[in-house]
């Protein structure tokens, strides 16, 4: 995929922010646990427990749910303090479509940005054009269509949305299975079938344009930044062909949203996740350090049931958790983004 800016540089010189570097960074996280932290002290506990990276945010999702209001990017001062405290990568969340928050996070030097539905979405029409950034992005998805759109938009890593802040794994499993089953379906798909999927998956850019202008875009209309509908479809076709060939997403794929126990982490790994994000699950439990270590072990030895059993012993109370049916659809974080 060619996206201007980076390619035309003399090979002798150093190249920063390339697609290879962004996807490569994500690959280094594989088999690991990324932990949500709200301050330097928690970050330090996460690092000592074996986290591969920390995700800096103002409030963990369970508290965002509890307190309501608009959830935004964390205070850069706090993020900076976390970066100064730990040597592992530091990620931070920006609101969906809020490229100014993302630019601010890039400028202070966070290692990866999560364009996250856990925060209140900022742009009702568009996600961030992630190709324009030198640092990599991770984005959530509920199904293959969302994954393909985010990958096309430049995400270097995909995660399930799950339902953050619930301590309930059901939605993460739903999303992982939705992606897996569609990838399996692709195995025997003809190019005509893939073209149909491209029509379906690119529809949200068409809808945004129609809502904004009341005009139906043609193939040559720029419907997302500088990209015409035609270019989007061509490049999306290539993304889907690659998924078909690899029989997996062409970027690293993590589980997120509702992981509370070592067994939760293990089941997501068994279902094909490359690693896990744990949000409220650790610092909302009664014994964060022990639980953090247990989840790290569980991800590393996800296929060894005796390890899962061993590390699950005497962990104390997990976070309380919420039944999905108790959350009205319009209050579900996973409904954010498109």
């Amino acid at each position: 995929m060619g996206f201007g800016t980076m390619e035309k540089i003399d090979l002798k010189k150093l190249m920063h922010g390339t697609v290879l570097l962004k996807k490569g960074f994500a690959k280094m996280q594989k088999g690991g646990v990324v932990m949500d932290v709200t301050n330097a002290e928690q970050a330090s506990i996460a690092e000592k427990s074996g986290a591969v990276a920390v995700m800096a945010l103002e409030r963990v999702p369970a508290d965002i749910r509890k307190y309501g209001g608009v959830a935004r990017m964390a205070d850069p001062g706090v993020i900076q303090e976390i970066m100064d405290t730990v040597s592992i990568p530091v990620m931070a969340k920006a609101r969906i479509g809020h490229f100014a928050e993302a630019l601010a996070l890039q400028s202070i030097g966070v290692d990866m940005i999560d364009e996250s539905e856990v925060l209140t979405p900022a742009d009702p029409f568009y996600h961030i054009n992630k190709h324009k950034f030198t640092i990599p992005f991770v984005c959530g998805c509920r199904n293959l269509g969302e994954a393909v759109r985010r990958i096309w938009e430049g995400a270097a890593m995909i995660r399930t949305k799950g339902e953050a802040g619930t301590g309930n794994i059901i939605e993460a499993i739903r999303h992982q299975r939705m992606v897996n089953c569609m990838i399996f379906e692709l195995k025997t798909a003809t190019d005509d079938k893939i073209s149909e999927l491209v029509e379906e998956y690119s529809q949200s850019y068409v809808n945004a344009y129609q809502t904004l202008t009341n005009i139906t875009p043609t193939q040559n209309t720029r419907v997302f930044d500088d990209f015409t509908l035609e270019t989007i479809k061509e490049e999306m076709f290539d993304v889907i062909k690659e998924i078909q060939k690899l029989q997996r997403l062409p970027v690293v794929n993590f589980a997120a949203g509702g992981i509370a126990t070592p067994a939760d982490a293990a089941i997501m790994m068994q279902l094909g996740s490359d690693g896990v994000f744990v949000g409220s699950g650790i610092f909302k439990s009664t014994n964060p350090t022990q639980r953090a270590k247990a989840i790290v072990e569980a991800v590393a030895h996800y296929d060894d049931a005796s390890v899962i059993a061993e590390v699950s012993k005497n962990l104390g109370d997990a976070m309380v958790g919420i039944d999905i049916d108790e959350i009205p659809k319009e209050q579900r974080l996973q409904e954010r983004g498109w």
Binding site: L20, I88, P89
Partner: protein, 209 residues
Amino acid sequence: MVKKPFISIGVIGIQGAVSEHIAMMQKVFVDADVDGSVSAVSKKEELQKIQGLILPGGESTTISRFLKSNDLLDEIRRRVQEGSLAIMGTCAGCVLLAKKILDTHANVHLLQLMDIEVKRNAFGRQRESFEESVTIDEWKDPFPAVFIRAPVITAVGKDCKVLAKSQNDTIMVEQDTMLAITFHPELTDDTRIHSYFLSKIQSMNEKKI
């Protein structure tokens, strides 16, 4: 023609770019027409059958915690020191091979097998990560080196040979059967470093016989 002996290689399969190393090594076996196997290893028993070990890139704090808790540090040291295991470390793996680490956040248990000193995240954070075409030893063509939050080798002992530099920073060193590389050959299509590692395993095996 005499059949070349079977070679078994392990990649520490705890965390990081494990599948990339496995895929690249498999390609090298095919290209070199060598019978061999390469697989992820994470248990002590799995070390017994291998003659080559790759320590992949990932988070050095995370990987080293596991090497220690799974009792692998001593066994890897013993095998390398008795001359029955060749070892290659890339990025985080390079850090683990070092004798010393220049770091204020030293939550890392080192193998201390190579007489080198390293600095972690020496170029800075992810935005400072870069690709550069580098010259390795007397190899004819440059190598596409991918540096991701990479370390540099800040000092080398007399038994080490520096194989590559980026500007003034040492980025690849060998010592006996060991290779330390601060970048990620497994993320490219260039198999020459993995081929070179295979040749080191083969010459180690010949010496033993």
